[in-house]
Symmetry: C2
Subunit: 202 residues, 2 copies
């Protein structure tokens, strides 16, 4: 329990490391996150990190695993309660907005990883995460069309792209304003415009 004890078990230390990276990503460009900075954040020396990870890429891999797991479970939980596809979609969006307000570094990490050249393990993990996420949105949209809630003419793929873009737009906006809470405060307003674009003519 004594999370302030200097000596942590390997698995605890790995978990703390992942959290340190996510916290740092909220404050600075992910490419500027050095192993020394991660160690300092944990009150550890730089070399100690390599007792728990073979190399820096493995840290990133662990971070992406953490993000995938948490984000997916949070989204699914938000979806579970909602009765209609349209309500589920909104719940999904608000859950996502809440998640990145709590962990504003995450979208930066994902985007950074996506634009990396070459094929790294963490990049592949981001790719599958985003693709799975997109599939989930598309399925929901198709269901919405089927039950008459959404415009039958709607292009689901385009609408899914816009859904993800909506989040990116809010993140960018929060970077400009310099306040992460901007995301949660404005999420529903932006979503309202989106919903108007996809729902059936009534």
């Amino acid at each position: 329990m004594s999370s302030t004890s200097k000596y942590l078990s390997a698995s605890e230390r790995r978990a703390v490391t992942v959290e340190a990276v996510i916290a740092l990503a909220a404050e600075q460009n992910p490419s500027q996150i050095t192993t020394a900075a991660i160690a300092e954040r944990m009150g550890l020396t730089q070399g100690a990190i390599f007792r728990h990870f073979p190399n820096k890429e493995a840290i990133l891999e662990a971070v992406m695993g953490w993000v995938s797991e948490r984000l997916i479970s949070r989204i699914e939980k938000a979806l579970a309660g909602e009765p209609s596809p349209l309500a589920a979609l909104q719940g999904m969006f608000m859950a996502h907005a809440g998640f990145i307000t709590e962990h504003p570094g995450i979208p930066h990490l994902l985007f950074e990883e996506l634009q990396r050249a070459g094929e790294t393990a963490p990049k592949r993990m981001v790719l599958t995460l985003v693709q799975r996420y997109e599939e989930r949105i598309k399925r929901l949209l198709e269901k919405g069309k089927a039950c008459g809630e959404l415009d039958p003419e709607l292009n689901s793929k385009a609408a899914a792209t816009l859904f993800l873009g909506m989040i990116q737009g809010l993140v960018m906006q929060s970077l400009i304003v310099g306040d992460v809470n901007h995301i949660r405060r404005n999420a529903s307003k932006v979503y309202a415009v989106y919903e108007r674009g996809i729902r059936s003519a009534s």
Copy 2:
């Protein structure tokens, strides 16, 4: 004209340098763009770059200047011909999509700069560019509401955020697919969903 001459005038060399950076940004993470890589792309030695720029930040500054100028002028040109606010907005979007399809590295550069910690000159340039751009969209949206083309209930700020997010979404999509032309191919489909979200009920 002899663009293959090794010896260029200072201003020509600066222009070529900016283009080299933008080309490199399309292939790799902007933070991985080294002065050595820029030099190699131009067929120059690394040290020679510092004959024309006092430091690396100055190169980034020049790049941001180039982007601001070109993007703004291209957008304004697209706007000029269009009669109605709604048509102007669409023209603006398609012009932007075309611009980043030609220079796919640019959104990466801008986003990278936005999430940089601290206050650098290039970051300030990106901030003012995005803010000016956003203002332009909002004005157009207000005009559209005034002339009855757009939903009078529309939240212009939220719609502007979504407009910018739409571009980010397309960029992300193109990173996933691994093909920049994806942006131009899908721009109009995504825009159709957006337009439905903002236009008047008619």
